[in-house]
Amino acid sequence: MTIGHEAFTFVRELVRAESAIVLEPGKEYLVESRLVPLARQGGHKDVDAFVAELATRRNPASMRLVVEALTTNETSWFRDTDPFTALRQSVFPTLAKTRTKHEIRVWAAACSSGQEPYSILMTAQDTPEIAGWKIDMLATDLSLEMLERARKGEYSQLEVNRGLPATTLVRHFERAGLNWRINPALAAQVQFRQLNLMRPFPAMGKFDVVFLRNVLIYFDLATKRDILRRVRQVLAPDGHLFLGAAEMTMGVDDAWERVPAGRSSVYRIREEQRTCVP
């Protein structure tokens, strides 16, 4: 079952008017899947019925929810929880034993609107083993618009509802009108920069931790392989790579090995590959 033409057209016009994002024909599935939760919440039998009522009543709150559902990238605080638990319980404590300068370098390679780098910093603050350490955080994204949002660090009510524990919200954010703004001291710790993963990386030194989550899925195999190979060059030999839950290096770039870390797993450069990085 996919959304009807009439409903799709209505949503498409609404989203275009409100966000300048154009939902091309063929995106019916996306619209359907993003709106199902709203339709069900409102007690409608399907998305078509929900949109039909929306088109008649034009309730501003519902319209805003629809626009947000379609324009908010699939990103939430501490997305999937497990990688952040692994950081706190395993990765940071391991690095604490070997990084004598009390500094950890982290790269969030597809930072989108900033939730990921900020979540990493909040996790670092909650890790006693590295209390008081400097976290040198680079956050990059292809989209300048996303980087601008990330840098601003302002999130809507709907966005702070996603995956952010209430205690963390009140500790690291303050109200800014209807939005919430990340604590400026935390925001100042992140260096934001535009970067296209498909191009050669600029000089940026070696990182102890790289987050490359839910981005490889958008590339073909050859590109995935090339990106993973180049990530090896900017990762410390004993560094840690996080991928999305649905992504893996197996069969793409076998210089990596998957190591369990709590309920999730992290990727490390195989021992025999560490000395002869191309």
């Binding site: 999937d80 009510q157 524990p165 009140v170 839910n214 839950a245």
Partner: protein, 131 residues
């Protein structure tokens, strides 16, 4: 697993109830804080693991309800989540100080509620990757 929904809006109880049912909960409802205390007392040993509590309600508001629940040793196992339109920072701080474990601000999507359940360790299976 049982969950208690405390909200004076029947529509909101239905919305929250449906999301919780999808997440595997059996739900009971109350229209205000006092009614919710009565429901808890009547449930005796078979307590809910979770209560989703609105703030503004007639008779007894959600903050008072949470404070009352926290005073009772036998109800200590219940996880309390405020679900409300109250979105000021000091409100959230007050609710947490009174004993709420989580705080969800209306309006919210079903995913947001499910993610809160995940944070609280109340999902049978962890939230998967949606990509």
């Amino acid at each position: 697993m049982r969950a208690l929904i405390v909200d004076d809006s029947r529509a909101m109880r239905r919305i929250v109830g449906r999301i919780l049912a999808d997440a595997g909960f059996e739900t009971v409802e109350a229209g205000d804080g006092q009614e919710a205390l009565d429901v808890l007392a009547s449930l005796d040993g078979d307590l809910p693991v979770l209560a989703c509590v609105d703030w503004n309600m007639p008779v007894m508001d959600g903050l008072t309800f949470i404070t009352q629940v926290r005073k009772q040793v036998q109800w200590r196992s219940i996880t309390l989540m405020m679900v409300t339109t109250e979105s000021e920072q000091d409100r959230i701080v007050r609710a947490l100080a009174a004993g709420a474990h989580e705080y969800l601000i209306k309006p919210f999507t079903g995913d947001a509620l499910v993610e809160k359940l995940d944070l609280l360790g109340l999902l049978p299976t962890p939230v998967g990757d949606h990509s």
